[in-house]
Amino acid sequence: MTTLQAEQATENLPHEPEKATLEGRNKILGFWLFLAGEAVLFGTLFATFLTLRNQVADGPSASELFSLPITAVATLILLVSSLTSVFAIQAMHRADKKSLLTWLTVTVVLGFSFLCLEIYEFYEYVVHYGYGMTTSAFSSAFYTLVGFHGAHVIFGICWISLLIGQVAKKGLTVVTAPKVYVSAMYWHFVDVVWVFVFTVVYLLGKVVG
């Protein structure tokens, strides 16, 4: 698509471009279904974690290990990134390509900062405390649950970055709009899961022990 065509496409955009075509609607529905499956996936991981959270063997326990300030900051960052992705979708509905791209970029940057904090946290545990996957059932469950969430964040970052490139190049069309919309759904989901992680893993671990 030439730039000219892309400009035109952006101008004639329907109000909710993500739902303008059958493909777009199918994509959104399919994605809701996918998220339902993801919810079961994380549900099983949480159940596993809850079963094993006191099985620390001779490793440290949750209250000895975690530092709440870092995770609280991480949580804040991720929650804000959900908000910025809402701004992105609002911009899309106004057919404002520029502000859409800006907000998506902000979302990616926030996601990336979250990731850095998490990597720092894991690095501390593994390198400073020598606390790894094999230490205890608790550590296995912890790294698996939080790591799974982290992998979702990485995937989301790559995905949204790719979309930024695509929208910049091809413009905002009825083909790109559903993709952006779906990626925002994904991002909200990842954030919601983190709220549970923060509560169940960190708060519960620190407060109840």
Binding site: L29, G30, V40, A137, S140
Partner: protein, 616 residues
Amino acid sequence: MDWLTTVDHKKIATLYLIAGGFFFGIGGIEALLIRVQLWKPMNTFLNAQQFNELITMHGTTMIFLGVMPIIFAIMNAVIPLQIGARDVAFPFLNSLGFWTFLFGGLLLNLSWFMGGAPDGGWTAYAPLSSTTYSTTHGVDFYTIGLQIAGLGTLIGGINFLATIITMRAPGMSFMRMPMFTWTTFVTSAMILFAFPAITVGLVLLSFDRILGANFFNVEGGGNPVLWQHIFWIFGHPEVYILILPAFGIISEVVSTFSRKRLFGYSSMVFATILIAFLGFMVWAHHMFTTGMGPVANALFAIATMLIAVPTGIKIFNWLFTMWGGQITFNTANLFAVGFIPTFVMGGVTGVMLGSAPADYQFHDTYFVVAHFHYVIVGGLVLGLFSGLHYWWPKMFGRVLNETLGKIEFWTFIIGFHLTFFLQHFLGLIGMQRRVYTYLPNQGFDMMNVLSTIGAFLMGVGVIVFLINIYITARQPAGVENDPWEDGRTLEWSIPSPPPEYNFKQLPLVRGLDAYWKEKMAGHKEMTPAEPVGPIHMPSPTIIPFVMSVGLFIAGLGFMFTTDDFGNSFLNFMFNKYIVVIIGLGITFGSMIVHSLNDDPGWHIEPEEQGGKGVEA
């Protein structure tokens, strides 16, 4: 090449059928080897290790790689036609689902050639499946192969759900959907909620084995019973994922060949949903002897027995459908009618097993083996044969030979009952399951001989079916739209096999059994719901194939990360995760390529659509 890149649901159905049939054959050979080993006491045909590998691979192969894909084959062939759609909602994902299943299955079976198959039983109970007790890479092939194959199932489930929700022809409300579409819908929903659980379970088990995690390792604080919960919260619904489509097939076949509408349609729908719901509530009936305590056992026992109620509704509705109908006993209907009493027997022994105190007696004996084969073979496999005979003309434009079909039916069903009926009694007098041999003169000897003979008879039945396919395929195609003449649903209103776009014009549905309704009103065709116009088709693509190859490579790489190959290059490639990264790179790389190239598809113009067009 055409077959590697196709996204057409009808061709993908054929691919599923061939691949599923292939694995079903392997599983069958494994079953026969097991039966040869057990035909006499103290047999030395196999040793204990080989026997364990064979039962593990037999169960795993049959369930995940044999019958599931054949179900998906029938669904793919039939669902878009039954709901009046031109394809599934996501043709690309449909192809991806097939290829991940196939490569997962190939990976799993590679274990036979790479140092030993999985040997912990198809349930892979910890600690049997831990590196302490299962020292080869067998269980790694199990976890990773099933992981990749399971991905395909999940994708398929989501695809069918979306297809049925959004792609129904105008006028087809939910309560006008054919019963097979309904059961596919509910089955897909169950897949969506059950498969992620096993996904997690398989991840945890492979982390335990490969990364040294402690989920199921008691010394590190792990909990083996956790594996059982995760496995069965998937595993029990899986049984209904298998049987519900068979229920759907039987409903279609019985009503077509009784020339009557299905008795109690809405109660059938309701019963299907109820079974699915209860299916998720009863997983722990597999764990009565694990020591959950009397309260949990009682609750799970009651919930289990409740399932008999909706199932009973179904059975009676089939009987009432036949009651007073003009019944045609061709092969498809013989299998359907044979299904009913056989499945009832499986259900009755299920209620017996569902009683916790009784299960302490039955557990891990041949009684259990007899029970689940009555359900899975006597239920599902009979249902699949029925469905294949019924829809074969639609799929391939040829009716299967009836004489051979009847020979197939009788050898298979006689062989089946001979094999498994006796195993109830073997179990009751104490023959243990999963043990590679037994002592003479315990009363087991004669029944085991007969059981083995029965198994071979079933094999004969399957071979007759293959001969039938071969002979039929050599005859010219060209059956009518509606070869049974009593077709009731939309698929029978279009040519056999259907053209690439299925419906030239989407049909207008005016009631349950839409096509039958039009026929009764004296019409020969469905009333179209749209004018003739260009039809949009998705382009073929190789990307799903490449993505699955990538996963296959990554899986192999991950499995061997801790091995010492005695070769510095190989050690480097595997121990530093290079192979994993290459494999995942291929997968994600092709995903990116796919997402960057928006597929505009192509159009079939009205002139190319053949036949006479009807103005809407």
